[in-house]
């Protein structure tokens, strides 16, 4: 369905090149819910924007993004516009992508009307049902974004993303700012549109655990682990993954030592090296992504040669 091959995104800045995505490959299978987690600033949103070709001009992109066999990187803007919204839906991380001068209901209905040329009334009825399912009353459908609370706007973004019945949904932090009951409604909604393929980016580990088939972990522009969700949460492999799970508030709010590395001059060898308690001499060279019976991990500890 979606195959990413050696994708690189470098941003030109006056301080040097930001290597935001640096050689990422993975595959999302049809009907799979593939979840991307990882450090703030590690390249998750940029990866998603590269797939949808939404990057700014200072980005240099290389590699392949195969969607049902077509390479999206090679596609012209006109063809890409048809794919966006209709075949691939995008739920962005930023709420500023809502248009301040259009009502929230109109913004959700618009992509459906545009792509399918169906009659307005049935589309609006559908939008109202979607809103009501997400706990936003019928009387609020004609409000403007600024009249909504943060969590209400977040739900509008989700409704907008799925309203046009796409094949693939790419959602960036779809549950941010939502309380537990609203989060489980989003899980339920995503399961209802069940035969959809999804690439979900999230920091919300409960949400990931409830929804995901597989988890991929990103650190400093690279994927460092890919595991089935169950196995990931019971036994994370990569030292970064373990550190991440250990910093849950219920486990005492213990952050991983050290700081997010520079993406202009990323650490040589294993990029996690100065923060890793298992680091040894050979971590000075870069570890490959090692296959362990269908789980993948980029760490020398698992090299059995």
């Amino acid at each position: 369905m979606l195959e990413i091959e050696d994708l690189k995104v470098y941003f030109r800045t006056n301080a040097g090149k930001v290597k935001a995505v640096d050689g990422v490959s993975f595959e999302v299978k049809r009907r799979e819910k593939f979840t991307l987690i990882g450090e703030s600033g590690s390249g998750k949103s940029v990866l998603a924007q590269a797939i949808l070709r939404l990057l700014p001009k200072n980005a240099e992109v290389s590699g392949k993004v195969l969607f049902d066999g077509r390479d999206l990187i090679e596609l012209g803007e006109e063809d890409m516009r048809k794919i966006r919204g209709r075949e691939i839906a995008w739920i962005p991380q930023s709420q500023s992508s809502l248009n301040p001068v259009l009502t929230v209901g109109f913004q959700c209905a618009e992509p459906v009307i545009e792509h399918f040329r169906t009659d307005k009334r049935s589309v609006f009825a559908r939008v109202v049902r979607l809103f009501e399912f997400l706990g936003i009353g019928r009387s609020r459908v004609k409000d403007y974004p600024h009249q909504f609370s943060g969590g209400m706007r977040q739900r509008v973004l989700v409704a907008m993303g799925i309203s046009a019945d796409p094949k693939l949904i790419i959602a960036d932090e779809p549950t941010k700012g939502l309380n537990a009951s609203k989060r489980s409604q989003i899980v339920e909604l995503f399961e209802k549109v069940g035969d959809k393929t999804m690439l979900i980016i999230t920091h919300d580990l409960n949400f990931a655990e409830n929804l995901a088939d597989r988890i991929a972990v990103m650190y400093c522009g690279k994927i460092v682990e890919v595991s089935p969700a169950k196995e990931f949460f019971s036994e994370p492999l990569h030292p970064y993954s373990r550190g991440l799970l250990d910093s849950l508030p219920s486990r005492g709010l213990k952050p991983i030592k050290g700081f997010q590395p520079s993406m202009i001059n990323p650490p040589k060898g294993c990029r996690f090296r100065d923060r890793c308690e298992f680091a040894s001499e050979r971590c000075k060279s870069e570890p490959p992504l090692i296959n362990l019976n269908g789980r993948f991990v980029r760490c020398w500890l698992y090299d059995r040669r």
Binding site: F11, T13, N14, A15, G16, V18, I37, G38, E39, S40, G41, K44, S45, V46, P56, Q93, S94, Q95, S96, G135, S139, K142, D143, Q147, F148, S149, G150, G151, M152, Q154, R155, E173, K176, G177, L178, N179, A180, S181, K182, H203, L205, G243, L244, S247, L248, P249, S250, G252, L253, K254, P255, I256, F259, Q260, S262, M263, I264
Partner: protein
Amino acid sequence: MIEGKKIKKVFKSGIFGGKTVVAVDNVDITVYDGETVALVGESGSGKSTLGRILLMLIKPDEGRVIFDGVDLTKLKGRELRRIRTKMQLIPQNPEEALDPRWRIYDSIAEPIRIHKLADSRNEEEELILELIRAVGLKEEHLNRYPHELSGGELQRAVIARALTLNPKFIVCDEPTSMLDISTQASIVRLLMEFQKRLGISYLFITHDLELAEVIADRILVMRSGKIVDERSLH
């Protein structure tokens, strides 16, 4: 200490203002010096509106806001602005806090310049670097515009900015909603460290009950504009 007394806020919308939403309904709230009060509750229950009213960024329809003995609802223009430097907001949507046309460095430097907290350019730069490193960012981020940072990086830049003026009271509205949990843990620890050092009071709005239980002295629960439950933790 900050107190809200009998605060009420009604929003009107629709063509003739015919639809009304009672966002905050007769709320009494106190946050003592050096205290962390977590405010939790359903989406749309009025948390952000209440937070903004305590900072006088929204005028309440009824009620009073008293900060260190001064009734803020009676102050105007300059006086209010002066007292407001002691109060900061870390907004739910970090993009609101920064001017999109300014580089991150200048956004953080602005309050330092206005209030003459640094004697020289060098001192200003040192102050900013120290803050930006404390939130886990680097020099390489300072020269960029807001849209050139990741969601979580922007959120941390806003936190750094809120801390520049050594405030007494901060409304943290979902301040870590875009951070991975390890970065969240270090940011929360940083906020607690500032609290110890400067005696800051926090109104900490969050959806994460586990986080609220770890960091707060008290938890308030809001529903349909009212505070319906209060729990002390320590």
